[in-house]
């Protein structure tokens, strides 16, 4: 299995070192790594590190004109 077999990686939980608990270092099971995260990990390290840009996905406010709704003088 290639380390970049992303489908399989997505299913397997990721094992990582944790720094808490009674032992200074112990293995802790984390959530399965998502496909997006795997793509990032699998990126060629020589490539330019892309800035993680969070898209503004929610339009939380919207201005309307007091004259901008039909049915009033």
């Amino acid at each position: 299995m290639s380390p970049f077999d992303t489908e399989l990686l997505a299913v397997l939980p990721t094992l990582t070192l944790a720094r808490e608990g009674p032992f200074e270092y112990c293995w802790q099971v984390m959530e399965p790594t998502t496909t997006a995260q795997i793509s990032e990990i699998a990126q060629d390290t020589d490539s330019v590190k892309q800035t993680v840009h969070q898209d503004v996905t929610e339009l939380l406010v919207e201005e309307i004109s007091i004259d901008g709704m039909c049915g009033v003088y």
Binding site: V56, E58, L60, V61, E63
Partner: protein, 88 residues
């Protein structure tokens, strides 16, 4: 000057907030601007943002996920442009 997570903000006292099922209607008595706040979370933040040192503190206090912070910064910035939110 645009709003950032570090900005200290406050709701303009000339603004009335009228709750709606999806959020609230904000009306500025001075400039007559009318804005819809389209999510209860942005209403909650706007109501007491003056109680926090920075916008980021307010977002944290209201358990807003960091992934949503850019949307909130943009929203507060837009409200500041209408003078509904002011910089302290």
């Amino acid at each position: 000057m645009s709003i950032t997570l570090e900005t200290a903000c406050e709701l303009n006292p000339q603004v009335a907030l009228r709750p709606e099922s999806f959020g609230a209607l904000a009306y500025h008595y001075g400039n007559r601007k009318l804005v819809f706040l389209k999510h209860p979370d942005v209403v909650a933040v706007v109501r007491d943002v003056a109680d926090y040192a920075t916008l980021q503190d307010a977002l944290g206090a209201h358990d807003i996920q960091p992934s949503r912070w850019p949307s909130f910064v943009e929203a507060i910035d837009s409200l500041a442009a209408s003078d509904i939110i002011r910089v302290r």
